[in-house]
Symmetry: C3
Subunit: 333 residues, 3 copies
């Protein structure tokens, strides 16, 4: 077995010009947000808009001669369903396998490289891949000619989630200029790949100010904060949601997992004051947007769902259009 | 976690006028046979007939702009395949997941309500749901706007099975008037939700007389017998198949499970004389219909399969048309 | 439960004229290579060629009114995906279930016969079946009218693999006459059903000479060697790859499993000198073809993949066309 690549090695690799994307996505692998220029991000967003207004008949034929494989090595309803539905909605033939570890030759010791080569040989035009290894999407992409779309690789990257989060922010703030938005991230900022990727993308789009609210043990990695600052983002870090609540244009909540705390008390203490309830909602801006990548447990209570600013289920819907856009751009349909 | 609703609470809820269905199914949730009027039952049956005689080209486009999610939290080949095939045969985009407990966010603690809201956000037009909780279909239906079709909720309801059983009875008795039929139910009548639902529907259609053959410990619940009597059905209960065998126009067999008996002897004794063999078939009416919801183990022996009155596999086929009818009625395609 | 049929019983059964296939495949079950005449093999190959050159629009409608069930009781990516993709590519409605043991009524004790009868009742036009019992495909075929396509039954048969291997040999040797080819089989020749079936088919096509390289404990079964000799094939058996390497027109490698050896040493010794490395590739003919049914572990090293003679991933691609051909021939689309 090859030694797994470390995060720095993966990013160093993706920094090479041939991995960078400006406005031509055809045949490109989508591995990481690190590949995306400002132009590329806007291209995805405008393509999503185009698809949303396209007549059903035309949209449902956009990829009718294409075949898409959706291979999931880890459980997921939302992302699996979203990609599968996106490919169907564009008229592609779709073959989804959501139990690759149980049903594929992976359990017989076949490498990921051999599995994706097999899919390429079977005539698929792209592979959407969710895998537990950080370097899985890169390894897969290097093994074959057809494009890989990374639907989550280990704890490191989930670029399509970041792109759908960007669309959600733009749409739900009614097309406010990203350069005017203050985004507040809350929860597990140390391991939360969605926060890492989204903050990068919003920095590329010119967001001027971001706040990061987390327990001390789950703060943003230092290098990510430094990267944001280098891009000119003013960053604030705190463990108190109260401090920044009223400034948020976007409030992005993530789940804090029990496993990072040695005692139940430490866990409960870290979460105290972080739960989003109707009382908290009363204090945020009337036009603010509340987001969550889901699934949620109780970090946002069910009573909040009926608040018009609660955008997390609409966020899922924005994801469908973003994934359709990516499939169409990559496959050039 | 919310406390699960009890059967009486669920039925009380569904008794409200907005849940009742007469002849307009569009956008309606199909949760329970309790929602169905006589007119509604006939509407399903006539729609199934229409679809069966419709040219392939037209039928295969009936739902071509619709998307159907088929979410199963419990194993099932027959119902899963039947619904998935039904939606395909009408030209819908179908996304089926038959391992929701393994592959979805359910194992991360996501509520059913959040899962179905996600599916709604992804643009599905209906969700076909099989779940182990009695109140699952109702909970799901109350969480979203798009219609839920209950493909089995806990031990309580399986309304589409009851409707396909009605179609089987009508078709296999060559369109005899339900008001002339004597139906004999055999087996586990205490826990058998198919028997509970079917007997209700046949009572609504005017069936005059039903017999119930079961071991003492597995008799029909008292309230269901009372409900049938209130509708004017004459009911007979016995533990001896011999007593009623020759009167049956329809013989509906269900499986008796070992788990309800404290000893192997008690189990075997309860089943003695209940097995359907060629010798038993010699004694029933020449035009009688033998049904079983399947899977069967040995309560009907394989030798019986070639008897023209053995309708259980044709019963599966009737189910396909009934499920197509329900999808078409609910989605208004 | 019925006693499972033994290999000899299965083959004796298939020897009856009604199971033999010459050039009309419509409605026929594809259970075993034993059913196939020379004419039938060429028919599959020529149909695969026709499909490959057919315009997309026409090919994608070849089976548009057909429904195909793909039922897998054992894990497999390659065969499952290949058949599912093949049916999709011909425009059929496809319903694939790759966890039949987990999600079907099989775990409730339903027989395979009852399961396939259910699928037939649901209107499927054919069933593609992978099952762990040697006699599964035959049992299934005898239970229903619609054709069964065997996608692997126990350790005994995998006829579509053998057919795709034949196509690979013909294509990769640039349409050389099979009567001029020396094929060398390497690895587990005792239990390797792909070797058993392929050697039979190549003998039917007139291959004059075959070599069999294996550890002593994994030699070809005596009756298969005898059968090949009866057909006029000159056979060589050896445990040394070196002896025959330079004569091979086709080198067909299979995996040797650890479980057949009592000690790690015996296992390693048996495999020593059998691994295909770039050094080995230097010694084989410049136009030779290297095949493997996959998955491979380390019996062919990754460095060999870039050798133009390494045909194992193209082999997967040939399989797609062969499976499309079989579906089209059987369903008469």
């Amino acid at each position: 077995m090859a030694t797994p690549l470390k995060a720095e090695e993966i990013f160093a690799h993706l920094a090479a010009p041939e991995w960078q994307i400006t406005n031509d996505f055809r045949g490109k692998d989508i591995i990481s947000v690190e590949q995306l220029s400002r132009e590329a991000i806007w291209k995805v967003l405008s393509t999503a808009n185009d698809l949303e207004t396209m007549p059903f008949e035309k949209r449902h034929r956009a990829l009718e001669s294409k075949a898409v494989a959706v291979l999931f090595y880890q459980p997921s309803t939302r992302t699996y369903t979203s990609f599968t539905r996106a490919a169907q909605a564009l008229g592609a033939d779709v073959l989804g396998i959501h139990g690759m570890m149980q049903y594929s030759s992976a359990y017989k010791g076949e490498t990921l490289a051999d599995t994706v080569r097999t899919m390429e040989a079977l005539g698929f035009d792209t592979i959407v891949l969710r895998h537990f290894d950080d370097d899985s999407a890169l390894i897969a992409a290097r093994s074959i000619e057809i494009p890989i779309i990374n639907a989550g690789s280990g704890k490191l990257e989930h670029p399509t989630q970041a792109l759908l989060d960007v669309r959600t922010i733009i749409k739900e703030t009614h097309n406010h200029n990203p350069q005017e938005l203050h985004i507040v991230f809350v929860g597990d900022l140390k391991y939360g790949r969605t926060v890492h990727s989204l903050s990068k993308l919003m920095a590329i789009l010119g967001a001027p100010e971001m706040s990061f609210v987390s327990p001390d043990v789950l703060r943003m990695p230092r290098n990510l904060i430094a990267g944001l600052n280098e891009r000119g983002v003013e960053t604030h870090e705190t463990s108190s949601l109260n401090e920044v609540l009223e400034k948020a244009d976007v409030l992005y909540i993530t789940r804090v997992q029990r496993e990072w705390f040695s005692t139940e008390e430490a866990y409960e203490e870290a979460r105290s004051g972080q739960q989003i309830t109707p009382a908290v909602m009363e204090r945020i801006k009337p036009e603010a947007v509340l987001m969550h990548p889901l699934p949620r447990v109780d970090e946002i209570t069910a009573e909040v769902d009926s608040d018009p600013r609660a955008a997390y289920f609409r966020q899922v819907g924005h994801g469908l259009w973003v994934r359709m856009a990516l499939l169409k751009l990559v496959l050039g349909g």
